[in-house]
């Protein structure tokens, strides 16, 4: 609903976007009837909500294709991209974050912390451009962008097309995640329960794995949820760097063409996903930490 209001508040009639400059009055009126922007706002709103309930996201103003169908085919690029990026981030952030905390007095522990500071300051598209420069232009190992027209049917090409974008997302996301892993580990290291476990005779790694991971994971998971959601939504920029036909490039094109059904569709689906991810993170936290279960909502 918020989406609907926000989009309709935008100036500019989508009918104008359908036609070129210099269209006649009749053409404009006909185009308006076709996209429905001649109807009063409440009529548009009621039909929008009605269709939403039936999961009918309408058809694109520009291409006349079904919005849901196009989202579906674009998802086959964006979802794997987000997933691989997420995996890279986890693989990087968790071991390095713990290492940075446990060895914070050694030079490499400190170095990891400093490098992770870069994560919040580096624009993700610049990392992408640098990786392209290195791996596609100088080393010629991987393609600089693009995705096979046949999609995943052309598996080999699809996978090689995914490596650099996923790596880009993973590096940037991993760097910011690392800071939270490090902070959570430091909290655990200073805790009484770890000292008790050590006093009861557990070795340091043993105590860290048995007691530390579970305690440290709770705050990290809530950050994970937020990061995953924003990676999914932030795919817009990455898809542009690597010219991938994903959800982000669909949104960008739809915004430029004032193709409301497409913009609405993408936003609706992504809002749904963001809420789902938040919900999943909430559940995961409760599974890990029994103390949260009795307390009701995890985040107030």
């Amino acid at each position: 609903m918020v989406l609907f209001v926000r989009l309709r508040l935008l100036p500019g009639d989508p009918a104008n976007a359908l036609l070129g400059v210099g269209a006649t009055e009749q053409q404009i009126a006909a185009a308006r009837a076709q996209v429905g922007s001649d109807q009063p706002l409440y009529v548009q709103f009621v039909s929008f909500i009605g269709n939403l309930a039936r999961l009918d996201l309408g058809t694109s103003f520009v291409s006349r294709a079904s919005v849901l169908g196009e989202i579906g085919s674009r998802m086959s690029v964006t979802l794997p991209l987000t997933f691989f990026g997420f995996v890279v981030a986890l693989v990087l952030a968790i071991p390095l974050g713990i290492l940075a905390a446990v060895r914070s007095n050694k030079w490499y522990g400190a170095a990891i912390s400093v490098i992770s500071q870069l994560g919040i300051a580096i624009p993700v598209f610049w990392v992408g451009i640098l990786l392209v420069t290195l791996f596609s232009i100088n080393l010629r190992w991987l393609p600089s962008g693009g995705f096979p027209l046949k999609g995943w049917a052309n598996f080999g090409e699809a996978i090689t097309g995914m490596i650099l974008p996923s790596l880009t997302i993973g590096l940037v996301m991993g760097a910011s995640l690392l800071r939270y892993v490090r902070a959570a580990t430091l909290d655990v290291l200073g805790s009484d329960f770890l000292r008790t476990a050590r006093a009861l005779g557990a070795s340091f790694p043993e105590a860290l794995i048995r007691h530390g991971v579970r305690n440290g994971a709770v705050p990290v998971i809530s950050i994970l949820g937020i990061e995953l959601a924003s990676t999914f939504l932030g795919a817009v920029v990455i898809e542009r760097v690597f010219s991938l036909p994903g959800l982000g490039s669909m949104l960008l094109l739809a915004i430029q063409q004032r193709d409301y059904p497409n913009v609405q569709g993408v936003l609706f689906i992504s809002t749904l996903l963001v809420l789902l991810i938040g919900f999943a993170a909430d559940i995961a936290q409760r599974l890990i930490d029994p103390r949260l279960r009795s307390r009701g909502r995890a985040f107030a």
Partner: protein, 282 residues
């Protein structure tokens, strides 16, 4: 800020180091930005040399594919980044602080509704909200980008303000002020704003960095200010095609962006440690 001098010597050293490094990095950009107002090496729109020339004494960073001097463009980029950062944070602060204070004072029901809306808005990256606002304005220009980013940032500011203000509102001195007959606007001006200001201002510095990067992303996507404005994002986007022959064009704007963003983050860290006495112990 003079209270910082009372901390232990070792603490003070590391704090002032972050603060100094931050000041230096940001200072370079401010100097460049101000310099563009009175002097530029070349006309930014004119062909100053051959196409895609390498760096030389005449062109410190070489030229772009239209033969324009890259260093000149980078200097203008500093100015644009600063204008965007300051403008967006100012707009975000005005909207955000007002909304946050309203939410803190509002009835339970209204407060819950506002808080839930803010949470949903924050779940969306700044960039995405800004894209939608830019799409709304028919002509893309620098101001539409600034306003868009300001609106996107305001949700974060509003949430923070709400939490901070609520924490102050339960204090005894607020009740005392109320009983002695102060009006709410007066309490906001005398008690609440001065109390939440230190934390807010640190947050504004962080948002400044966010805004600069988001503007570069917008320009990179072609939704930022149109050509005469040499934003770093646009320079990067133009240079991406020629990265093999002229790598500097794709590297220099990135370094500029990162240095400004790290500069403000360091500044924020240094400020936080100076302002907030509870963090000094660490």
């Amino acid at each position: 800020m003079s209270t910082a001098t009372m901390t232990a010597p070792t603490e003070k050293k590391s704090h002032s180091l972050a603060l100094k490094a931050g000041l230096l990095l940001v200072g370079i950009h401010i100097f460049m930005g101000l310099l563009t107002l009175v002097w530029l090496p070349y006309d930014p729109t004119a062909m100053a040399g051959g196409r895609l020339e390498g760096p030389s004494l005449l062109h410190l960073l070489g030229t772009d594919r239209l033969g324009r001097d890259l260093f000149t463009q980078m200097m203008i980029g500093s100015r644009i980044a600063l204008i965007v950062g300051i403008g967006a944070v100012a707009i975000g602060a005005v909207i955000g602080v007002t909304l946050g204070l309203l939410a803190a004072f509002a009835s339970k029901w209204l407060d819950d509704a506002l808080a839930a809306t803010l949470d949903i808005l924050i779940a969306f990256p700044t960039l995405l909200i800004a894209m939608l606002v830019v799409a709304a304005s028919d002509t893309a220009n620098l101001w539409s980008a600034i306003i868009a980013l300001g609106i996107a940032l305001s949700a974060i500011v509003a949430r923070l303000t709400r939490i901070l203000a609520k924490r102050v509102l339960v204090m005894d001195y607020i009740t005392a002020a109320r009983t002695s007959g102060s009006s709410w606007p007066k309490i906001v001006a005398i008690h609440i704003l001065p109390n939440i200001w230190p934390t807010l201002s640190v947050n504004f510095a962080l948002q400044f960095g966010l805004a600069v990067i988001a503007e570069a992303s917008l320009s990179y996507l072609g939704l930022g200010a149109p050509p005469p404005n040499a934003s770093w994002g646009r320079i990067l986007q133009e240079a991406q095609g020629t990265v093999y022959t002229a790598p500097l064009g794709a590297i220099a704007p990135g370094i500029a962006l990162v240095s400004l963003a790290i500069g403000v983050n360091l500044l924020a860290d240094g400020l936080r440690d100076t302002i907030d006495p509870t963090r000094r112990a660490r």
